[in-house]
Symmetry: C2
Subunit: 377 residues, 2 copies
């Protein structure tokens, strides 16, 4: 018998979704406490852990030991790291492993990793036995502030990113801030783009705070936990208002329509562009495009670009190493993106810093000429 580990201070964000409500815990040492937190919330005593080759050597043993100490028997599946793992083939592998482990309805699938592992294993948890319990243990800044909250799961297909998936809310999210210390600068910055996004959507004070405090957020400590908790709360607020993305939740896609097109154009090659970098460039483009449509001042676009550039993020298409396809091809990728209704393009535009809105009637000709202007060839 092990004594109950005394709880270090953790921030709690509650996501009030009725019978699908859940807690997000943010703080230090949460992987060591995972078994305790899970056993306190779920009835089942079996778990299937899904992780990747980068994360497993760092944290898998600690997680398994923590579960075991809480009386939870676990099986583990270690997948290749990288965006290509979000495929139908790996979805099959995860479903098969979960069934092999005889995980039942009150047992849990646990995602230990970044957004790829979370999206893939959340999808599997949503479809095996038509829905199992699901716990997110996000190990990247990006997944802590974005993909682990909100219940969107999915895989990529040759037609585009995240085009196949389900809404399946987690039962618990454990965002251990210690694990971020092992991220590369580039990975941390990519996650930071999504943190900045929450300010740019509708929180002018938070964006100004980030402009003043970003160095401390990068360095760790209380400002980092503060930024993550503010981001999770912001995402929770939007998700609660619109769980299945019929309306305001679309605001979370600020910068994502352009960003996804750039990711597609670079064949999801993480050496050239990772998701957060695409979002950073996409947010600058969204502000510039809004200025071009006379919706916002060009100065706002400059302010956004200046901050993202200061933290070391790419902000222009030319910052992406290697050649990009012509504007027409980018436009086609945008047309295959899922934010399309009746042939018209839906974009998140803005009236300025923290004044973003959903525009569902943007003429594709305007987008195309804007892209040609930004990326002539």
């Amino acid at each position: 018998m092990n004594a109950i580990v005394s709880a270090p201070a953790a921030r709690l964000v509650h996501v009030p979704l009725g019978e699908r409500a859940y807690d997000i815990l943010i703080g230090s040492g949460l992987i060591e406490r995972a078994g305790h937190e899970i056993a306190a919330r779920l009835k089942g005593r079996k778990a299937a852990i899904v992780t990747d080759e980068n994360v497993a050597p760092l944290y898998l043993d600690a997680l398994v030991a923590s579960l075991e100490a809480a009386g939870i028997v676990s099986a583990s599946l270690v997948l290749p790291a990288g965006e290509k793992t979000k495929s139908f083939e790996h979805l099959m592998t995860v479903c098969d492993a979960v069934l092999e482990a005889r995980i039942e309805r009150n047992d849990a699938v646990i995602a230990l990793g970044g957004g790829v592992i979370g999206d893939l294993s959340g999808f599997a948890a949503g479809i095996v036995r038509r829905g199992l319990r699901f716990v997110q243990v996000p190990t990247s800044l990006l997944s802590q502030v974005d993909s682990s909250v909100g219940g969107k799961t999915g895989i990529n297909t040759r037609h585009g990113k995240n085009l196949v998936g389900v809404f399946h809310q987690p039962d618990l999210v454990l965002a251990d801030t210690d694990v971020l210390n092992t991220l590369s600068d580039r990975e941390f910055r990519a996650g930071y783009a999504e943190v900045a996004k929450y300010g740019l959507i509708d929180k002018p004070d938070f964006f100004a705070w980030l402009e003043a405090n970003w160095r401390q957020v990068f360095a760790g400590g209380v400002e980092r936990a503060e930024a993550i908790a503010t981001s999770c709360q912001a995402k929770s607020d939007v998700v609660v208002a619109d769980e299945r993305e019929n309306g305001p939740r679309a605001l979370l896609n600020l910068g994502h329509t352009f960003g996804h097109a750039l990711e597609a154009a670079t064949a999801y090659d993480s050496r050239r562009l990772v998701h957060g970098e695409g979002v950073a460039i996409g947010m600058v483009l969204a502000h510039e495009f809004s200025a071009r449509l006379n919706l916002a001042s060009p100065d706002d676009a400059k302010r956004v670009e200046a901050h993202l550039k200061t933290v070391g993020l790419p902000t222009r298409m030319d910052d992406i190493p290697g050649d990009l396809p012509p504007a027409e091809v980018l436009m086609d990728a945008i047309g295959q993106d899922k934010k399309v209704k009746g042939g018209k393009l839906t974009f998140i535009l803005t009236h300025g810093i923290a004044q973003s809105f959903v525009a569902d009637d943007v003429p594709s000709s305007e987008v195309l000429s804007f892209l040609k202007e930004k990326h002539p060839r």
Copy 2:
């Protein structure tokens, strides 16, 4: 412009599931009216039809023409017929075809076929873009009275039947009674097992009516439509009370735990056993097992067997052509079935005709010795 086809008399069963409510229409000539009925209910003007090689030559042209007349552009995917089509590989194929056809959120995926096509394409409709509109045009009696109503979708894996899937309610079900005239006697009988099931769950009058009127139901006409409408209404009632199968919906599995095990034991070989036949044998076994546990009179099991035998259905394990594996293997298949909680077996048992109930604490030793008694080897 085509004039609006005047509506022949159709029965309507409304499934009141709030924002997921939908209509089931039952009657003659509904494939010819499909475009009209769909256009009246859905905003989109694109559709992807999924069907199989048996059904396509009979009804695909009529459905496409009907959609076209209503201004709906469609793409069609014709898959191999049979249970083996409910696989991950074919799920990928359907998702890919739906994306290729650029089906958007208000457009429809239309299942034209039996339960295999409905379960597979409903699953695809539930996951492409995290949920598209879905219309069922069931062409077997089994799918008209069972699988097309209620939103359960899924595929089979090597671990068992329907272990991977989602709940995704259709937006409309069109049960055209004319198409049943092209079914083989064996297929019709297999569907009839599910019709009888609704009586045996909790409708003594309906079961007695079937005992008196089954010949007319098989012959067609007003009794057939009556039996289908009563069955759809019964299923709707249970689904509305328990959409996601946490409680009373489990009653719909009367005969299915044994039935699924027999299907697994015959490797889903339809030459040996089809689903409805497994359910017929399973319902007799469920009544016999209930009698063995002193819950019901052995006379009720005999009455159930007599009726199912009269209509030509198999009622005993020995009726299945070829060898069955030993009782232990059947037991293992039951343990892998999804109605398992914390290691204990959940069974639908009965106190007599139309007095079924959910027993979630059945000792597996009792089941095993019962199986050994029924199937000694």
